[in-house]
């Protein structure tokens, strides 16, 4: 009984101590912030974090906090208003949409600085154990679209009849079509649809005509991936896709260039429209599947939150985003030099985004 009473006493004291402790924590209103708060795209995340870390380590300012929320989620937070409880910068794997820009304006975020930071390639890759694949964007469209032009001729569309790559294009191997790619929530998938699928669809005269006449319908055609097992949602984790490719030499994966860059001993990128996805080819714009990456800055926060100007300067310095900068080592494809200069100039002057089409 004595032991038990001691336990009770201890427990009461403990609880009391905890409650007192909480009361001390009590009013947690963050009315000021001394570190930059960044939200947005998971594609830009690996690059922004590298800059943030170096920026923090160099001393002078705290390391910015970077949340990986996705491009859309990032803009939602970014455009919610001006003030310390709202983020200062939003990373994006596409340009800001007109609707998002409007939301921003409505909530008082009127001055936004757009910073284009470089390119990201989207690669189709397979295991090193299998031969390297050579695709045209037309092949990609035929293999992955839900509906394709009737192979027997005619104007109509039929549900995708192709089972193997050889049926799509006789020069490809006789292997079942099995593509692992990102889910619909992913920005990589949106970019893949616009870059590869749309390009492939435009290779058909009938669809080209449709694109001019009924853009919405055309978008639905290149934007719908097959659901009969030829295309598999492999989740947001690109490392997982790489592992699956190694285990299954017949599968093809779709993901960002940096994952190919890190795993060149296990997987190889497919040639698309005659070009291999290499750093140089993407930088030159020869490799067709690449998209620009951005981040957006709230001008109203510059000077209020310490370090924003310096962070921008670090990001747009040659040692970061330049041709041999540390971001290129992480897989970011730099902008051409002239464009880098122009963007850096804009950033320096904090030129505000006027209008979004």
């Amino acid at each position: 009984m004595k032991k038990r009473k001691a336990l009770l006493k201890n427990a009461t004291m403990f609880t009391l101590a905890l409650v007192v402790g909480l009361a001390a924590v009590g009013p947690v209103q963050a009315q000021q912030r001394d570190s930059i708060s960044i939200v947005g795209s998971s594609t830009v995340y690996p690059f922004a974090t590298v800059v943030a870390e170096r920026f923090g380590k160099a001393g002078g300012f705290k390391t910015p906090k970077i949340e990986s929320t996705g491009t859309g989620g990032g803009f939602k937070l970014f455009c919610a208003g001006v003030g310390v409880q709202h983020p200062d910068i939003s990373n994006a794997s596409r340009a800001i949409k007109a609707s998002e820009f409007e939301t921003c304006q409505k909530n008082g975020v009127t001055e936004i600085v757009e910073v284009k930071i470089g390119f990201d390639g989207i690669v189709l890759a397979n295991s090193k154990k299998a031969p390297q694949l050579v695709f045209s964007s037309k092949d990609i469209f035929l293999a992955l679209a839900k509906e394709v032009p009737d192979p027997k001729g005619g104007e109509g569309l039929v549900p995708n009849p192709y089972k193997t790559w050889k049926e799509v294009n006789p020069s490809l191997p006789e292997v079942k079509i099995e593509v692992l790619g990102p889910p619909p929530t992913s920005g990589t998938r949106d970019a893949f649809l616009e870059l590869a699928m749309e390009r492939g669809a435009l290779a058909f005269e009938s669809l080209k005509k449709l694109a001019k006449e009924d853009a919405k319908k055309f978008q639905k055609i290149f934007g719908s991936l097959r659901e009969d097992g030829g295309y598999v949602d492999a989740g947001e984790n690109d490392n997982l896709i790489v592992q699956k490719l190694v285990a299954n030499p017949n599968a093809v994966g779709i993901f960002g260039f940096s994952f190919l860059d890190q795993n060149t001993d296990k997987i190889q990128g497919a040639k698309v429209d005659g070009h291999v996805p290499t750093f140089e080819n993407i930088a030159d714009g020869k490799y067709p599947l690449s998209r620009p990456l951005f981040f957006y800055v709230k001008k109203a926060h510059v000077g209020v939150i310490p370090g924003i100007k310096e962070y921008l300067a670090e990001f747009t310095s040659e040692k970061a985003w330049g041709k041999d900068g540390y971001l290129s080592e992480k897989g970011l494809i730099p902008l051409p030099e002239a464009e880098r200069k122009k963007v850096a100039e804009n950033v320096k002057n904090l030129t505000v985004l006027k209008d979004v089409k």
Binding site: L8, L18, S42, P46, K57, A58, T63, T264, D265
Partner: protein, 433 residues
């Protein structure tokens, strides 16, 4: 059974006695018992097998992360480079380059030199800086210093890049392999205990990344959860169990509590976003908000465990206390609660263990973030262990694969300790009637 009984009565009653019926059915019953045991055993073997498989794969992938390749360089703390008044901003990279040049004087050419400098982690300059800042006396001396190797070099030394592959298919070149061989032969290359992994915050350079930031974040978050959910949960359970009269209203509350215990955790995250962030304007990414969200999530579990602990205290205890004149509050606080406490604590710890492994609800309140600085309080931006694992699993760098597994091992160790504590508490204080 039926047919047996029928023959026993209708046939020849003298010979077909009950014992005969029992004997006749014995083999069948033995068989069915053996079958049942076999399936039971099979179920256990199967689950242990899967568990062992999981542990084996995580440990096999993760144990290498506890050791990190380091390279010993002769560093001359050059007074030309290190000016006493600007130590923080000196060019420490120059010291490292100089050290490498000393070991490999014949390496020329831009590309070749770049490869040489890539042997050492890009973050080693900060290590060196801290080293000098701590002891400025070093300036002017030459010392042998162990510096971290770059992540790709580390992977190569650990055997993740096979040398047989063509040069352009691996991230370590032939030249670099040759230098590594020479360094190893000279005793300048060693795998040493990876202290950084346990003391640093997150980093995008795998060799600089550590889990201490996430451990601290988890600590602060769970502290808030415990502080709030234990007293509130126990108080609610005591009231419901000992004081409240059974009515439709308390039945409704009970149904709701049981329901809440089964609600997916992300829902609590959404609630936290709406209430704590948007309404109360609490800071994003702060452990205090994460703790509040996890409190909401663990409260039902704790209330249910606490109520069943109270139920298991026999009514005779209460009657005896009331009989000698104790008030109801006295009865509960002096007699019932102490007996129920071990059960309550067990339930609480199991609830806490679940909260420790949770990441989904924290996404909504901004704790899925890259945070380098170690959180020092309840309102500093922080992340937690499971989130750290998720972020590393998503990183392209190869060296993060083993670090992900190592972080999982650390998380599992914490869970093991917590569940062990729950069992120990139960064993130590439990009383059976």
């Amino acid at each position: 059974m039926n047919s047996g009984r029928e023959t026993a009565y209708s046939g020849e009653p003298q010979e077909r006695r009950t014992i005969a019926v029992v004997r006749a059915s014995l083999p069948r019953r033995y068989r069915s018992e053996r079958r049942f045991r076999f399936f039971g055993l099979l179920a256990i073997v199967l689950s242990i097998g899967f568990l062992a498989l999981m542990f084996a794969s995580i440990i096999a992938q993760g144990y290498t992360a506890f050791r990190q390749t380091e390279i010993r360089l002769p560093i001359f703390f050059d007074p030309e480079v290190l000016h006493a008044d600007a130590l923080a901003r000196a060019d420490y990279g120059a010291l490292i380059r100089h050290g490498l040049d000393r070991l490999f004087p014949d390496v020329r050419g831009r590309q070749e030199r770049r490869e040489l400098f890539a042997l050492i982690s890009s973050a080693a300059v900060y290590e060196l800086r801290d080293f000098v800042m701590r002891d400025p006396e070093l300036i002017g001396q030459t010392l042998e210093v162990w510096l971290k190797a770059g992540a790709d070099i580390d992977m190569a030394v650990k055997g993740h890049f096979r040398r047989e592959l063509p040069e352009d298919e691996r991230r370590v070149t032939d030249r670099q392999f040759a230098w590594l061989d020479r360094l190893a032969a000279e005793g300048r290359l060693e795998k040493r205990f990876n202290r950084t992994f346990f003391t640093a915050g997150d980093s995008r350079e795998p060799e600089q990344a550590g889990i201490w930031g996430a451990v601290c974040g988890s600590f602060f978050t769970l502290a808030v959860t415990l502080i709030l959910s234990f007293p509130i949960g126990v108080a609610a359970a005591i009231y419901l169990e000992e004081f409240a009269r059974r009515s439709r209203f308390t039945d409704l509350i009970e149904v709701n509590i049981n329901n809440l215990a089964a609600v997916p955790s992300i829902v609590f995250g959404l609630l936290g976003l709406a209430v704590f962030l948007n309404f109360f304007h609490m800071p994003r990414s702060a452990p205090v908000v994460g703790g509040l969200v996890l409190t909401l999530m663990t409260l039902p579990t704790i209330i249910i465990a606490a109520r069943s602990a109270l139920k298991s205290v026999p009514p005779s205890i209460r009657e005896a206390a009331l009989g000698v004149g104790a008030s109801r509050v006295q009865t509960v606080l002096h007699h019932v609660l102490p007996l129920a406490l071990p059960g309550m604590l067990t339930g609480t710890i199991i609830g806490m263990a679940r909260a420790l492994g949770e990441s989904a609800p924290l996404l909504m309140v901004g704790m899925v973030a890259f945070i380098v600085e170690i959180p020092k309080g309840f309102t500093d931006p922080a992340t937690v262990l499971p989130v750290q694992i998720y972020l590393w699993a998503d990183s392209p760098e190869r060296a993060f694969v083993e670090r992900t597994s190592a972080a999982i091992l650390v998380l599992l160790a914490f869970l093991l300790v917590m569940n062990g504590a729950a069992i120990w508490l139960r064993k130590k204080y439990e009383r059976r009637w």
